[in-house]
């Protein structure tokens, strides 16, 4: 595989961005919404790939970290009146902070303990919103990013504007992560994942590397949570359910869990499945029951089959030396 430098990657990202944004002008609102959804899922899945694929930790609670980011962004907007790009950064920072605390606990835990603890977080954290008045309870809080500024063009629709924002954020994040993974931090994480003992003998502080990976992954999850809140127009406990956390893990597995670029494929699949199974459900008579549950069934079957047939994910030929 040819290795590109940061500058080349930057140009590639710009190119992809330009194509996508041009394309967004030629689709309807639903597709623009779904495009934004793909970009946001891709960022969230990338945070799992970073954590699981590159540092060997697992998290079933990233939906909760997205909630942290989303709520932080909304609160920053409501109480500090920050402009929205800054609220996204606040979301990322809040995610990082929560992830740092959790990461300290996580570095001491492995496998089942980590999975169980993060699961408990996913169940417990969103419901905290019901207890604090400032978090808006069951109804949540509104989040208004506003419409596109005038200099972009007048005929810009709402979801097309969200698509722009989400794609820009996604490209920036992927560019940053890709570069980061080829620095010594990336190499350390891979060493820790592949063989912790050898990594420790080589002088790598394993706990530190793991906490750093968890913090960074949570920051990315927090940012994606803020973007998610933008797309939904609000934050509420029901938006960040256990299902969301599971969906992210599913996306990461479908993507090939140590393949950053695969996150985009994973995100595409996650958005496409409900769409496709809707078509199937309508053909089958389209009762509410089928429409509500078929996507879950299809995703789960896909998850089980992927993990059985290709535990490393469908499309990574593991590089051999």
């Amino acid at each position: 595989m040819k290795r590109n430098g940061p500058a080349t990657r930057f140009l590639i990202s710009l190119g992809i961005g330009a194509i996508l944004l041009f394309a967004s002008g030629h689709v309807d609102e639903l597709r623009a919404y779904q495009g934004a959804q793909v970009a946001i899922y891709a960022i969230a899945i990338a945070s799992i790939v970073l954590l699981t694929g590159f540092s060997g930790q697992i998290s079933l609670g990233h939906g909760a970290l997205m909630a942290v980011g989303g709520y932080a962004a909304v609160i920053a907007q409501i109480h500090w009146h920050l402009p929205y790009p800054l609220t996204f950064l606040i979301g990322g920072l809040a995610g990082a902070l929560a992830g740092y605390v959790l990461g300290i606990a996580a570095a001491r835990l492995r496998g089942p303990y980590l999975a169980g603890t993060t699961l408990a977080l996913a169940v417990g954290l969103p419901s905290l919103a019901n207890q604090f008045h400032i978090l808006g309870g069951e109804q949540g809080l509104p989040f208004d990013v506003g419409t596109a500024p005038n200099w972009i063009g007048k005929e810009f629709t709402q979801y097309r504007w969200f698509f722009w924002v989400a794609v820009t954020a996604a490209l920036a994040i992927f560019w940053l992560l890709r570069n980061l993974l080829s620095t010594r931090y990336g190499r350390r994480w891979r060493a820790v994942r592949s063989n912790p003992t050898a990594a420790a003998l080589a002088g790598i502080d394993i706990a530190k590397a793991k906490v750093l990976a968890f913090t960074l992954s949570s920051a990315v999850a927090g940012l994606s949570g803020a973007l998610f809140a933008m797309l939904l127009g609000l934050v509420a406990p029901l938006a960040f359910t256990l299902i969301l956390s599971f969906t992210l893990v599913t996306g990461a597995v479908l993507a090939g869990v140590s393949n950053l670029g695969g996150s985009i494929v994973g995100a595409l699949v996650l958005v496409a499945i409900p769409e496709l199974s809707n078509v199937v459900a309508t053909h089958l008579g389209g009762s509410d029951r089928v429409t509500a549950n078929l996507p879950g069934v299809v995703t789960s079957v896909l998850l089980i089959v992927t993990v059985l047939l290709a535990p490393n994910g469908p499309k990574i030929p593991r590089r051999r030396k």
């Binding site: 169980g116 419901s127 089980i304």
Partner: protein
């Protein structure tokens, strides 16, 4: 003072359900080194089957064993069709420790989805003939109800049967040996694969009973047992994840702890309380009450 004792009684009742779920997780953990997140799904499915049985037979007490047997079969099926092939395939790969977790999540999602397809996502009532209104002693009505009493007795009977099987039968010996030293057990003629499936079946039965006992106190829906799974996991960690007695004690401790939190702080913290208790346990005594020393590495 009366409130204090009542709280303990109520805690023991919900604690025995946590103990059953915790036991289910510990049995699976001991036999295959997997935390079975699908346990919530398996229990929901067996409870739905119990619900079906009851709507035909009109008898809760007959539907209970049906749910338990169904739970055992579902669990054995999950082990032999998904988990065993997966363990063989992922052995030695980078995802060996993560793949089973993901597979159990997949099964959880699948069962939920299928249950939703068949029974819908509405709340169903799976009721027991016992009253959930508290006993009346003298002139005061305490929160502890006949239903609570049945839960405690049912759980205690099953735990006693499990303990007897593990301690006094050849099957119990094989189950313990296969989880302790699989290779040596295999050399001494134990069919480790089959024994593991049986271990899963026992676990499924315990989970199914937990589901069938807890559901009459609330409602039945495809994800109604999620919190039970989390509580069961926390209870298992309190007990050390390895020990069957630990699982039971962990369940009771958690149940009583929850009851006090609900009594003195309020119902709104239920969901977060499990997480906070888990974090406290992991920081203070990560090996659990009954766990051996050493680090918590899988």
């Amino acid at each position: 003072m009366a409130t204090f004792f009542n709280t303990i009684l109520v805690g023991i009742s919900s604690g025995s359900i946590y103990a059953l779920m915790s036991l289910s997780l510990v049995l699976v953990w001991r036999s295959t080194r997997v935390v079975n997140f699908a346990a919530a799904g398996q229990a929901v499915l067996s409870t739905y089957l119990g619900y079906e049985a009851m709507s035909r037979l009109h008898n809760y007490w007959l539907s209970l064993p049906i749910a338990v047997i169904a739970g055992a079969l579902i669990s054995a099926l999950v082990e032999s069709c998904v988990m065993r092939p997966l363990a063989k395939r992922s052995k030695g790969t980078a995802v060996e420790s993560i793949a089973p977790v993901i597979a159990t999540l997949g099964i959880l999602g699948l069962i939920r989805g299928v249950a939703g397809l068949i029974w819908g996502n509405t709340f169903l009532q799976y009721t027991s003939p016992l009253s959930s209104k508290g006993f009346t002693i003298g002139h005061t009505t305490i929160p502890f109800s006949p239903l609570n009493a049945a839960i405690v007795i049912g759980a205690a009977i099953v735990l006693a049967i499990f303990a007897a099987i593990f301690r006094f039968t050849r099957l119990g010996l094989a189950l313990r040996a296969a989880s302790f030293q699989p290779e040596i057990s295999r050399l001494s003629g134990i069919r480790v694969d089959q024994i593991r499936t049986i271990g899963w079946a026992f676990a499924g039965a315990a989970g199914a009973l937990a589901g069938a006992l807890v559901t009459p106190t609330a409602y039945l829906s495809p994800n109604s047992l999620d919190l039970l799974l989390v509580s069961g996991f926390v209870a298992a960690v309190i007990g050390g994840l390895e020990s069957l007695i630990g699982a039971v004690v962990g369940g009771l401790v958690l149940g009583v702890g929850f009851a006090f939190i609900l009594q003195y702080i309020g119902t709104q913290v239920t969901f977060s309380a499990a997480f906070i208790i888990l974090i406290i346990v992991l920081f203070i005594r990560p090996q659990g009450i009954f766990g051996r020393g050493g680090s918590r590495e899988a």
